[in-house]
């Protein structure tokens, strides 16, 4: 491996993953009250371990190496401060789980994730906690991912950790099996949120934070592999993640610009991943309760199967958006529903939907809303309105790539300046 950027990526991802693993393992041993210590120890150990790589090169199996060396360094560090922290000095990092009365899922990361999904915490605080501990992102990375000031992030993180410390009941000691079932919807939502943040960044140069998308898939897979039982909703969510990720390779142009679904070269889609998505969707169908993930995965599945944008089953997509909107109504869903109606040629119904949304203040800064109005005006052949709506889309806060795309559209409708 000689490409500098690839090495940086490999290091970033390996370090992040192992930091998450170390923190989770330490918390499972030390208890949720020691999340701070676990984070410090994990970071120290990784920095120390990494300092030798410049003289040796990257080990053949960097993950195993870091896990061993940083794990040992972490044991030393905790042993040294065991007395002052009032911890059991016979504390052993590598002792196997033996407690048969409260069978652990044997997965510290999953345990910690269950702890992070505390219903008392706001969803965004749960997400911050999960990214910072289970996934091993640094404070700087987490604040950049969520567009938060680092000060704000550390305040919210402190609040979340205080909450963990205050937990004294059964959950704090045995956070796994019985809590998992109860908290599964929250866990799924965290994974969904993590993926959505990665897939649709609203600012900055990166079109997609692939690492965040991959992390969401990893956590979903881990949860599926180790949870006592999987639910149809989880299979549906996993199908959704796979369908969306399968399209990622076609979503960038060579210069990093956004390529819309309409313009994507579908031969770049990952067929194997789409197949896996359909398998998950099959497993999801065996359910009396439909979750929002069912509808979203259904929509993604129709796109995945369509030979082209125009030859897409827009009638089914419009129907699914209608059901999704009934299930969990939101302006963004209505906007997408309207787009599918435009594609179907039902312009009047699309207009009714969009007009009803017009007074919503939050939508004025939502690019998708203005782009949908643009599409409608364009379909009606109203060039003046098409241009005006595009200008409004452009004025919204966008990630650089989305803005580039709108600029490109803009040029079709006349000069921007």
């Amino acid at each position: 491996m000689s490409d500098a950027a690839a090495i940086h990526r490999l290091l970033d991802e390996t370090v992040r993953r192992e930091r998450g693993w170390l923190i989770s393992s330490l918390v499972s041993r030390l208890g949720p009250a020691q999340v701070d210590l676990a984070q410090d120890v994990a970071q120290d150990a990784i920095v120390k371990a990494l300092a030798t790589w410049p003289y040796k090169g990257i080990p053949d199996n960097p993950r195993a190496w870091l896990r061993r060396v940083a794990g040992n360094a972490a044991i030393d560090r905790v042993r040294r401060s065991a007395r002052e922290l009032g911890l059991d000095e016979s504390w052993d990092f590598t002792a196997p789980e033996e407690d048969v009365i409260t069978p652990s899922l044997s997965d510290p990361e999953l345990d910690l994730m269950v702890l992070c999904c505390d219903p008392e915490l706001a969803p965004q605080d749960q997400l911050i906690l999960a990214l910072k501990t289970v996934s091993g992102f640094t404070a700087a990375e987490t604040s950049a991912l969520l567009f938060l000031m680092e000060d704000t992030l550390s305040q919210r993180l402190a609040r979340a950790k205080r909450r963990l410390r205050e937990q004294t009941g059964e959950l704090a000691r045995f956070p796994t099996r019985f809590a998992l079932k109860q908290r599964l919807p929250l866990l799924l939502r965290i994974i969904y949120l993590m993926f959505a943040w990665g897939y649709l960044p609203r600012r900055g140069k990166d079109l997609v934070r692939e690492d965040l998308c991959r992390e969401a898939i990893r956590l979903s897979e881990g949860l599926m592999a180790r949870a006592p039982e999987t639910t149809p909703g989880h299979h549906a969510l996993h199908a959704l993640l796979l369908f969306q990720t399968a399209r990622l390779p076609a979503r960038f142009g060579p210069d990093g610009t956004l390529i819309t679904l309409e313009e994507q070269d579908r031969s770049f889609w990952d067929d194997a991943m789409i197949e896996d998505g359909f398998a998950q969707l099959g497993a999801a169908q065996n359910s009396p309760d439909l979750t929002r993930y069912h509808f979203e995965a259904g929509i993604a599945a129709i796109h995945a199967r369509a030979p082209s944008f125009t030859a897409t089953d827009w009638a089914s997509i419009a129907k699914l958006y209608e059901l999704l909107d009934k299930h969990a109504s939101s302006p963004a869903i209505k906007v997408n529903w309207a787009v599918s109606l435009i594609m179907l040629g039902d312009l009047d119904r699309a207009e009714t939907l969009l007009s009803a949304l017009a007074p919503a203040k939050a939508l004025q800064s939502f690019t998708g809303y203005h782009l949908a109005r643009h599409k409608l005006a364009d379909a009606r052949g109203d060039a003046k309105a098409a241009k005006a709506t595009l200008a409004e889309a452009r004025a919204c806060m966008n990630s650089q790539s989305v803005a580039d795309h709108i600029d490109q559209q803009w040029r079709l409708f006349g000069d921007p300046d």
């Binding site: 491996m1 090495i7 290091l11 003289y55 700087a140």
Partner: protein
């Protein structure tokens, strides 16, 4: 091919005052360079030296004296060394020029190993 030792000294407080993120970025530069040189067959190996302590053993007119480090009066301490393959000093200097140590520190000392006794 002749081997050259690159000695990499740094100021005693060079790394202690860095934030973790900065330190990691620095490490990535070094690791990337080592990987690149390894791919080209130029990198032979190296050792990082521990920053703390060190000892000096001296013969004072027959009496052996041992002194502990750190040696606070020194301007630079040796952080480690690397061994590279190069045709001659010219190439070794070229390789050293591209070394991230020249970006993040000030000095690299190059010495050729004496291979005359090797088979």
């Amino acid at each position: 091919m002749p081997k050259f030792v690159l000695m990499l000294p740094h100021a005693p407080d060079r790394y202690t005052k860095l934030g973790e993120a900065e330190f990691m970025d620095l490490m990535k530069d070094y690791i990337g360079w080592v990987e690149e040189m390894s791919a080209k067959g130029k990198f032979e190996g190296g050792e990082k030296l521990l920053d703390e302590g060190g000892k000096v053993v001296t013969n004072k007119s027959g009496a052996i004296e041992v002194h502990d480090g750190p040696f606070t009066e020194v301007a630079e301490i040796l952080g480690g060394y690397m061994v590279i393959n190069a045709d001659d000093y010219d190439e070794a200097v070229e390789i050293a020029r591209s070394h991230p140590h020249m970006k993040h520190n000030e000095t690299i000392i190059i010495r050729q190993t004496d291979a005359s006794a090797d088979d």
